[in-house]
């Protein structure tokens, strides 16, 4: 699997993501700076990691979403390349309109950094196909703006089309997200955004490796396609 990790000034979780991708694919992902206009040829997966791109000025992810590399990510997504955005990456994908809705300030107004229960709602995606619907995985969150909002019609569509991939389970919603939404997928099924950090739950040193199947799913899906 050839993957690329997109970097913006202020992104700070790329090393964990690179390590997780290396663990499952056996090769280093490309790293691509935000000023680039093209992604490396032939990438199967583009990952936008977490952090605080451009200081989260204006709105979380807003300035990153307008950078040259995101035009290339849009084109890649249009060709069916898989795209995963985690935390700030999810915010950037909504600001780019590759995913619907918006991530607003946490309802409790505080930055939250803790482990939540992440429930798989759709096990038929490139990120979850090694799991089953209803599986609950411990997964860390670390964000200030993770409160998913969408208008009623969009929310109805997301729910009706099975496009909610993950929910916070067992009362662990840390941010007031509508319907406890932690992650969603686009209509075509190749772009996923999620607030929790599965790359930080993939080896014993993290306290457990429960989220490793997510990354193994992507490798398997890429090999199959």
């Amino acid at each position: 699997m050839k993957s690329a990790v997109v970097l913006f000034p202020g992104i700070n979780r790329e090393h964990d993501m690179i390590r997780a991708l290396r663990m499952v694919s056996g090769r280093d992902p490309y790293t691509v700076w935000h000023t680039e206009a093209e992604l490396p040829a032939g990438v199967d997966l583009v990952v936008i990691p977490g952090g605080f791109s451009f200081g989260d000025y204006l709105r979380a992810g807003a300035i990153a979403a307008r950078s040259p590399i995101m035009r290339a990510v849009e084109r890649a997504a249009g060709r069916g390349v898989k795209v995963l955005g985690v935390c700030n990456g999810f915010q950037i994908l909504t600001e780019t309109h590759l995913l619907p809705g918006a991530l607003m300030r946490n309802a409790g107004l505080k930055f939250v950094c803790r482990t939540i229960d992440l429930q798989v709602e759709n096990a038929d995606t490139f990120l979850t196909n090694r799991l089953s619907r209803g599986d609950v995985l411990p997964c860390p969150v670390a964000h200030h703006d993770g409160n998913f909002f969408a208008d009623d019609e969009t929310l109805k569509r997301l729910e009706g089309e099975g496009r909610v991939v993950f929910r916070y389970a067992n009362g662990t919603n840390p941010n007031g997200s509508l319907n406890d939404i932690a992650g969603i997928i686009n209509e075509r099924g190749n772009v996923i955004g999620m607030m929790p950090h599965p790359e930080d739950r993939v080896e014993p040193l993290h306290g457990g490796d429960e989220c490793l199947p997510l990354f193994r799913s992507v490798v398997e899906q890429v090999a199959a396609s």
């Binding site: 307008r66 600001e95 918006a102 607003m104 107004l109 909002f149 969408a150 208008d151």
Partner: protein, 80 residues
């Protein structure tokens, strides 16, 4: 010429920061205060000579960057 852009969360979108301000006002003894909403004010100095052209350009700036129209409304004021 100067433009003033006012950006507010759309009606119906929960504004946790506005709520926190409302509670703080209440605890300071200001009674009868409700529906506190917080927004942003952005000012821009523009080279444009004509106000309508400036307004069109600022509207484009709002749509492309300054506001997230999924959750926010904006108002533009052009000051000569």
């Amino acid at each position: 010429m100067k433009a003033i852009v006012k950006i507010m969360l759309k009606p119906g979108v929960l504004d946790p920061q506005g709520k926190a301000i409302e509670h703080a006002l209440g605890s300071l003894g200001f009674s009868g205060v409700g529906e506190v909403r917080q927004g942003k004010l952005i000012t821009l100095q523009l080279d444009d000579a004509d106000a309508e052209g400036a307004r069109t350009r600022v509207r484009e700036m709002c749509e492309k960057l300054l506001a997230n129209t999924v959750i926010e409304d904006y108002e533009i004021e052009i000051v000569e």
